[in-house]
Assembly symmetry: D3
Homo-oligomer: 253 residues x 6
């Protein structure tokens, strides 16, 4: 029995509030337990220099935490004058993960920037950001589709993410902060709606882990991600249909 | 008649949600029309180097906007590697304003850091931040008082702020973004509950203004600030009593 | 009686030496008491990116203090690697103030950069910079006019600035450093030759101030600024005529 | 058949030259095919602030590439003024991996800094750095042991790393640069001498991967890492005995 | 005949105004032709970390140019966020040169910082800075001596500097900006009052130079530096005696 | 007799390994005693902005030391976020020196970047970098010539460099680190194959030096540089002929 009463294979309650921000092309407030992240998607009619002239779009992400997202105040990276390694690692991960389910050529020479701002942290902020950013991105890209700016719908699969870990020999799904700081093994997994892996990042700094533990963690992650994706489907409504349609079309190529 | 139907001397609806964040010692979500700011207050048992050894506390503020707080995405200052002039100017203003109603010696060698993060902007973000930060600060300092860490209550007055401006010869209270961008004269005013001025910052870059216009703007500002302060009193409840008590004690010295 | 023997409504001696620098298009050394600032105006045949293609010019300012302008050596901002908040605030103020009396469309797609370098500080460096920069700007723009590069003279009013403050219930004009550090209320005012306000920045961090005090301070400021502007007129000589002519023409539109 | 004639499960030739640098406490030049990395280990009698007073040591790493390590010259991060996200990610990975086989309390309040400088890159620079840095670290720590500065030998297992990937449905071991740029799936794995996982980082940005592919990649990685570790054992000679002894002692606790 | 009518072995007019700044412990305005530099000396009762606890003092320098010191406006290094290579090179040179004539142990654990700010540039700004900074330093250190804070006078020789160069096969003394930009060979020389070399920095980027040219340049430099030093002696008055006395004492050790 | 048994006028053993790096257009590993530097030359078909449109090329250099090139680990400049003054000074020197023997117009609108990375330091790293960089540059430019991209061979002389210094009244050639730290006078000299000076940088911070000492040092430097240049000729083989041919052609103009 976990400190908050959950079973080992149970995620915390998930709540996704769409269109949380009046300015952004797509936005959500995603809450996974006490972890709360505002994800906004911005569409811009230009791509970064290294993508110019290829007729393809780009998807990228930025991640930040408000100073009191955490129990102890963390100094702003803007005040320090540079991004920390953890931030860079996370925003590279989010961008890479989202790009795996978008056909960049179908997006045209546009970029989608996902801003993931953690307003309250309680473990799993990077995986929650990925799950939320997917929804914000889908809403924004759907507006492009509605405005007839796209030749075909570019998102070809759902994408969710959870963390898993091992505490006292026990594999657990969706660690909160308290559990995360006790875990000897910590793994973040990103998977598609069709059950394929996009990212597997497991770390056993405290204690190397066996193949058997790895297998257990991957199973739990799959379970948790399916549950995240069904929340996405609910909140996306008719947009979910378009994703499934695009997936179907892509699989026939 | 203004675009959103308000009278010239009317503020937008104000909503202050206290204890919005589970980690911070004090916190609010303040909404003034579509402008939304999360204000958190952090208490730390240390003061900056220039205040050390004086037996006094310090109050300071930081201000930031999420990238899509605005209609067009603004680049993160953390990514640019430095704070812009506007940000610095605003956070210096917020800190200075809050310190004007706190007796730093009554705080002890502690610092209160107010983080004002604009999650959606529609004009008046700096004045809204001041009004909200005051409440977050009062909640946090009240916890110190409750924990018997203070010899007397250090907040000796309420503090509210609004913007005022002149559009087509007409003085208006609490400009939204649309009005702000049309205003020839723009003024931010901070006042105490007892009706004294803490900051008056009027700018007529587009068009220098007369003494008569200045007088009209100051009257409107006073009106608006009284209304902000009555919202603060409501949400602070019993803490309001403590502020009034401290004000009374201070006035007798 | 003030420490240097002045009356409450008296400024320090003002001396403006024009053409102090052989390279700049316009330059002055301005001395207000022991405060000494070199102001140079640079004309460049280009505007910043955000102004491009509008057929209008731009006026901007930079402000800095030599390390030993002050009693205690202050570290160079170039060595610290960033501009401080105070510097940014001041240079934004100077640029904004100067733009209020320049018709940017009459300047053509050119920029005027005012560099205000304080070589000795004794209070009022920002207001002295504004008063001096106005003269340097007028000299530089007059050269453009002499060279027949302008369709009409773009400066439509004089512009002066002083600081005022309250010490022991007494409102005083043009504070020196010593007075400034004792003042409970501190206000910087910028006005035009025709007596309109361009900037009013009053701060009562130490002690909020009443409407009556505000009124007294504004009167003193007006007096002081008139005296600054008559110094400008003397040093500008025939250029003063051109400004008056442009003011007259502008008022008829 | 691969472009350089290797089998799918074959690594490139590995050469580890110990004591390559006369100043460092431990050093190697490691060559894996055309990838060449200088790894130096520096022992300092102090720990970073967050580790102070715990009686434990610290192991950390820095990673860099010479500008012409790569086919196209890459700009120095010192000239750009900041570390890129890739560099930060890699050096965090190297440090974390090395710490997993060191008992920090047995190190005493000392730090070991591993500098991994890629002088020529041809794929797998981060995994090669880990394999080489382990040897440099072992040499440096062994000197501490020889000097009787340690109560027990702190390295309790070997540590090696390889990259694996999928090209055209085929899982391959130890990708060179050419293969790496064609791979749809890319995975870096770090394992101990006793066959446990320390890091598993798999990315399918180009194409999500199945559980079956994951399993194949993990098997190849295990094979490759065993071969890296036997090179380490050869070059470490008698120091290998000490590691095995420490491993044995640790397993009995 | 040179453009300004000087002979090849003639310096421009030199004017040194002592005590130019009311705050600094020592200060001059030095003018060599149209090159004008404000040099201030700051005494602080502390030394940099690498000098602590040795009972010795430190002398260091900073160098900067106002934006319009030059014909074309140069961007502030504070705005660019970093010091350029030329600035660093010059300030290292100034500090090193001044230290060569100061007995650091006689200074006590104090530092002298020389700020050299070029307010107008016309060639030779670094050599003019050295000549001027020497005087500012002597005035400041003399105050320490007058205040009985020193066991003996620490400055043991005069120090002057000039530039020399070759234009069209002709060696010239004290190049102005115009000459400097035409010179094929450019040399900065620093010498003591007793005729020894402290720095010789000759560069023939445009055209390598012969031993014979080098010899001619060194002779001219010696001549020019003697003339700079006699200006220093005049302006220093009685302080010159103290330097000569210290030189005499030092030579007997 | 020197600590390593050399005579006063003897350099350490020199070894230049050409084509040390498989990616760079030109490269060497140069070893002078225990000082080891990797020099790579990169050809790019563009010039920096200030050289554009002149039909001429550019040669520039960057210099860095690996953290453990030195006896005590030095912090990376990339981690500190800026280049130090010493690095800037050295890389400016290397670039300037190399340009003195290249006819930039014969290079076409191309740039050659020399990266000098010190992998082990034992004195003379800047002079060794110049000697090695010359060879790397010659190899790279020769490839351009071989590819018929140049109208004539642009390198018109050899270029070598050594350090010299005075220890206990004795002038010594090619100081190692130990000697360098004891030297009262320290001089770096760069000369061409035809015996002309390109750079003379002598510093007597510890002790000003006489004209006689200067003369002795220059003689030793000439001797040492001749020996460096004969090593260059050996390793360059047939490319040496091309340089001699270009020198001959240039001397006839």
């Amino acid at each position: 029995m976990r400190s908050d009463g959950r079973r080992a294979d149970e995620t915390r309650p998930v709540k996704i509030t769409a269109n949380y921000n009046k300015h952004a092309e797509g936005s959500v407030l995603i809450e996974v337990g006490d972890t709360k992240v505002i994800c906004t998607a911005t569409i811009e009619e230009r791509v970064p220099p290294f993508m110019k002239g290829q007729g393809k779009g780009w998807v990228t992400a930025e991640y930040s935490m408000l100073p009191r997202a955490t129990s102890v105040r963390n100094q702003r990276e803007s005040a320090r004058g540079k991004l920390g390694g953890r931030t860079m690692e996370i925003q590279r991960l989010i961008g890479r993960a989202l790009r795996s389910v978008v056909q960049l050529d179908a997006l045209g020479e546009r970029s989608v920037t996902l801003d993931c701002d953690v307003i309250q942290a309680d473990g799993g902020t990077r995986t929650t950001s990925i799950t939320g950013a997917f929804v914000a991105m889908a809403i924004a890209i759907d507006k492009l589709a509605t405005d007839k700016k796209l030749s075909r719908f570019p998102i070809i699969d759902f994408l969710g993410s959870v963390s898993v870990g091992v505490i006292q020999e026990q594999a657990l799904l969706d660690l909160n902060y308290d559990e995360d700081s006790k875990a000897k093994v910590d793994m973040n997994v990103v998977m598609t709606g069709s059950g394929k892996f996009v990212e597997v990042q497991g770390t056993g700094e405290e204690s190397p882990f066996s193949r058997k533990e790895l297998d257990e963690l991957l199973l739990l992650a799959e379970l948790g991600i399916q549950s995240m994706i069904s929340e996405q489907e609910k909140v996306l409504g008719v947009i979910s249909e378009r994703i499934r349609g695009a997936a179907h079309a892509a699989s026939r190529v």
